[in-house]
């Protein structure tokens, strides 16, 4: 039986505000336990929430970024359940009326096509604290530093049919939120968490099968693997005539399989009701316009602009855009060097290679955009031959100074002067009469091959500094007997 997988994704995004969503505690990662948990975060008696304006703004920015309808009047609700890292015994979330309503997010797939994902809604809520199980022998430790950090929960329709699409969505989401500056979007650090709802159905069917929810998958690679392993598991059961239990499962990376979550056995009735300590958030058209006018250029628009204004290929643009820092780097190089295609080639080629080998990110790149542009300028204006460019690049990487300094210091200046080149050609021709004779006697195809010998000799004599194009012109003329 051929099974089609149907998936919806729920992403919890930590918003990068300075303070928490309902209290003035810091959100900084990595503090000692409970030093960033004030009385409101701890749910102490008598404490009340007050809403952080930046969290609202970030949510609206996200909504506008995906072209969604913004909820004019959104409401907070209490989601009630007991767990030690949930101090109040309820999570303040949005159930009935979210701040961001339906929208469509165009996700670029590898190969260049766009895959439309329907976003059902995105809502604000507070994060819970952390339970630590491995420090104390018989107890679990509760750290509430994270409790109250603002989250944006983004829910999609079950539009995904493959792991590839799911991963592409997550990557595009990461790109969008880093562009907007609303979140680090870092899966490994937990600022972007993904839950996958997956069910199978016979290929061609319209009905939805029973779904399971996979939680706690914290990298793009694991998302892919988790999806495949859960697909296999469900397919095996269905093939054997069994049925899928609706449940929550955890992905175990070591065993590459999902397993049932024990703690979710007790069915949870969340008893959502409007949070009486908070009032409806009213967002008017003026506010939306204000936020929209301050939006940075988004990945989609930047991709289009790179292709249109810089003449890049869709492929290259798609590689440069997702990482905001890289895109910015590219533009700086492209603008200064006035050679965007060359800039793209260098960045996607040698620079990326060097960064990967040294395990550096573009933010810590030892070559500034100005310096890379400097290199490209010298290639473009003929000062430096492409053969020797790599040498200069390596020197730039080692921090040996500007391109001009390196070229001068190492005497790498390309020889383009006709007179100097002529002299070189003449010398090599004079020194190799047999090859010249061979050349003159050969047919066109063989001549092409033989000219390489002369080019090589001249390059050697000039220490690689001969301008290849000029050289070829002159050489051809001289070999063919024209002076």
């Amino acid at each position: 039986m051929s099974w089609e997988m149907v998936m919806g994704l729920e992403v919890h995004l930590q918003l990068a505000t300075r303070s928490k969503i309902f209290s003035g505690s810091a959100t900084q990662f990595g503090a000692s336990p409970n030093v960033q948990a004030d009385a409101v975060d701890l749910g102490m008696p008598g404490m009340l929430p007050v809403l952080n304006e930046e969290a609202v703004r970030y949510a609206v920015m996200f909504g506008l970024g995906i072209g969604a309808r913004i909820g004019e009047r959104s409401v907070f609700d209490r989601k009630n359940y007991f767990y030690p890292d949930l101090p109040k015994g309820y999570q303040v979330s949005q159930f009935f009326a979210p701040i961001v309503c339906e929208g469509t997010f165009e996700v670029p797939l590898e190969g260049g096509s766009l895959f439309p994902v329907r976003i059902t809604r995105a809502h604000l809520e507070e994060d819970a604290g952390k339970s630590v199980h491995d420090i104390f022998a018989h107890e679990t430790g509760i750290d509430l530093n994270r409790a109250g950090t603002p989250l944006l929960e983004i829910v999609t329709e079950p539009d995904f049919r493959s792991a590839e699409q799911a991963v592409a969505y997550l990557k595009a989401l990461h790109s969008l939120v880093t562009y907007l500056g609303i979140s680090d979007g870092n899966m490994a650090e937990g600022s972007m968490r993904c839950d996958i709802n997956i069910s199978l159905r016979p290929a061609g069917s319209d009905e939805l099968g029973t779904r399971t929810e996979i939680k706690n998958v914290n990298s793009f690679r694991f998302v892919e693997r988790a999806i495949y392993s859960e697909y296999e598991r469900q397919a095996d059961i269905l093939d054997a005539g069994g049925s899928i239990t609706q449940e929550t499962r955890l992905y175990d990376a070591e065993r590459n399989q999902t397993r049932s979550m024990r703690s979710k056995e007790v069915a949870n009735d969340y008893r959502y009701f409007p949070e009486p300590d908070l009032l409806p958030i009213v967002i008017d058209a003026a506010y939306i316009d204000h936020v929209r006018s301050a939006l940075p250029e988004l990945p989609g628009a930047k991709r289009e602009r790179f292709v249109r204004d810089y003449g890049l290929t869709e492929y290259d643009a798609a590689l440069l855009v997702p990482n905001h820092a890289l895109a910015t780097y590219f533009e700086a190089v492209a603008t200064t060097s006035r050679a965007p295609k060359a800039a793209a080639n260098w960045i996607l080629g040698d620079l990326s290679g060097a960064l990967n080998r040294s395990e550096l990110t573009i933010e810590s790149c030892p070559i500034s955009p100005e310096r890379l542009a400097g290199l490209i300028l010298r290639i473009e204006d003929g000062t430096l031959s492409s053969k020797l460019a790599k040498q200069v690049f390596d020197a730039l990487w080692e921090g040996e100074g500007e391109a001009d300094e390196i070229i001068a210091q190492r005497g790498l200046q390309q020889v383009s002067d006709t007179g100097a080149l002529e002299a070189l050609v003449d010398e090599v021709i004079a020194q190799n009469p047999d090859q010249v004779a061979q050349y003159r006697a050969a047919d066109e195809a063989k001549q092409k091959k033989l000219s390489g010998f002369f080019v090589g000799q001249i390059m050697k004599a000039s220490k690689g500094q001969a301008n290849p194009q000029r050289l070829n012109e002159l050489l051809l003329k001289k070999l063919q007997g024209q002076s």
Binding site: A39, L42, G43, M44, P45, G46, M47, L48, P49, V50, L51, R78, N80, F82, P84, P87, K88, G89, Y90, T140, I142, D269, R271, Y272, F273, P276, D277, L278, L279
Partner: protein, 492 residues
């Protein structure tokens, strides 16, 4: 002035004496502390006494007066209901759950009154988590009504009302979610006001029902209440539900002039269910107001009989969530040797909470649960709007709505224990006012068989001034508010 006179004087009267240096705050404080010591054993109105801090505050107040400073509340002895968090001072909320809880912060109301110069003597007993109308649900034992110690003082601010009536303080604070200031004020013969929802900050007040709770003043006179309310009011950025309105000088509204004041009398309040003796006192009170120039107009609050059902869905539902934080993890009562997490929760909560609290948590949880939300919680929220609309409609024709504060006088202990609903009926006149978020007060309206009766005055939203002024008028024309229980003839 004799000691008794000092113990029963209003804050305004004491202020004159303090200003004139005829008495010092230190002397007053000592006097009230002695009164507490003498009578609290029998009344059980006060849970915690802060003698040292009180004396220090009193001395600071006296220094103010000697500098020619000092406002109307400076140096006045006050007790806080034990629902207000007080930094460094045990705050129990009448519950085993918080028996040893010492907050690291003051409630905004506490801070504001402190800034106004009051001398805090201690914390008052109350129904557990403010759930009750008789102060019989307190973990720390019931409070006795000083008018008749076989009787309840009302609740949930029973300790506050009893303490004031017994002369243990000049001012007390209470909270009111369904009548918990007004009903005990009525049963103890004092003046108590529940402000408009949002008038006073809820920050630092242990929450019962978030959309209904309000803190308010309880005192011997409407004038004292006006002064206290002014000090307690004002927007608090830490409470999203506090209204963005300045705190008016409420005492400026106390002109005593109620000429042409239109007082609405809901026919639903004055039906055959009303005890005839209570009804008679209420009529007398209304006659006084009429004689002073007010107009009595019959009005209709057609959905008032739904108030109790509405309240007993919304309040328990909100409370069920507000009390979920009491889980033995971060503060409060924890059971001994919990076997696992579930055991920790189940036993800490079942042992920490009393019967009435557990019952309301169950009711509230039920009303919110899957399949019942629409029929109960959502429905109740809709009826709430209808009830609120009834008031709004009525207030297009009248300025104030009047009626009894409670269906009867103070009843005996245990009289309403059989059926929880019989206790709930105590608040039949007060509940709707919280649902609509309106201000309401109770002012003494004489005695029936030696036990106090209260007249309730309900005002338009944020119009506390009008009801305070009407109560003030009544207090100028009668001396019902001056009546005090006989404390001397009782064994300490």
């Amino acid at each position: 002035m004799s000691d008794t006179a000092l113990l029963t004087a209003s804050a305004s009267e004491l202020h004159q004496m303090l200003k004139a240096r005829a008495v010092s705050s230190e002397e007053l404080t000592r006097l009230f502390l002695q009164q507490i010591e003498a009578h609290n054993g029998s009344l059980n109105a006060v849970l915690t006494v802060c003698a040292d801090q009180a004396m220090a505050d009193a001395r600071a107040a006296d220094r103010q007066f000697s500098n020619g400073e000092g406002t109307v509340l400076t140096g006045i002895p006050l007790l806080h209901k034990d629902i207000f968090c007080t930094r460094g001072i045990r705050t129990t909320c009448g519950s085993r759950m918080l028996e040893n809880f010492v907050p690291a912060y003051d409630a905004t109301v506490v801070a504001k009154l402190k800034a106004a110069g009051v001398v805090m003597l201690g914390k008052c007993n109350m129904d557990e988590f403010a759930m009750g109308s008789s102060n019989e649900t307190s973990y720390f034992g019931p409070v006795k009504n000083p008018w008749d110690t076989r009787c309840v003082p009302g609740g949930s601010s029973g300790g506050s009302a009893a303490a004031l009536a017994a002369g243990m303080a000049t001012l007390v604070t209470g909270t009111d979610t369904g009548g918990s200031i007004r009903q005990p004020a009525s049963l103890c013969g004092i003046t108590g006001l529940k402000p408009t929802y949002g008038r006073v900050s809820r920050l630092g007040i242990i929450a019962f029902a978030s959309s209904l709770d309000q803190a308010g003043p309880m005192a011997r006179t409407a004038e004292d209440c006006a002064h206290m309310l002014a000090a307690m009011s004002g927007i608090d950025p830490g409470d999203s539900t506090s209204a963005d309105l300045p705190a008016p000088d409420f005492s400026a509204a106390l002109t005593g002039d109620i000429q042409g004041l239109r007082i609405g009398l809901p026919k639903q309040y004055f039906n055959d269910d009303l005890d005839p003796a209570v009804s008679e006192q209420i009529s007398k009170a209304l006659s006084h107001l009429e004689a002073a120039g007010a107009k009595l107009i019959e009005i209709d609050l057609p959905h008032s009989h739904y108030a109790i059902a509405t309240y007993y869905v919304i309040a328990p539902a909100e409370a069920s969530a507000n009390l979920a934080r009491y889980d033995g993890v971060r503060f409060g009562y924890r059971c001994e040797n919990p076997a696992d997490l579930e055991d920790l929760y189940l036993r800490s909560r079942s042992e920490g909470f009393g019967e009435e609290v557990q019952r309301r948590i169950l009711v509230g949880t039920y009303a919110l649960s899957a399949g019942f939300y629409d029929a109960y919680f959502n429905k109740a929220q809709q009826v709430r709007r209808i009830i609120s609309e009834d008031f709004r409609q009525a207030f297009t024709a009248v300025d104030v709505i009047a009626g009894p504060s409670a269906p009867g006088v103070a009843f005996q202990f245990g009289a309403k224990q059989k059926d929880p609903v019989s206790m709930y009926m105590e608040d039949i006149y007060t509940l709707a006012v919280n649902l609509a978020g309106l201000p309401g007060l109770s002012t003494p309206a004489g005695l029936v068989n030696g036990m106090p009766v209260g007249l309730q005055l309900i005002g338009k939203a944020f119009d506390e001034g009008t009801i305070l002024n009407a109560a003030h008028r009544l207090q100028l024309d009668t001396d019902w508010h001056r009546a005090t229980p006989d404390m001397g003839g009782r064994a300490a």
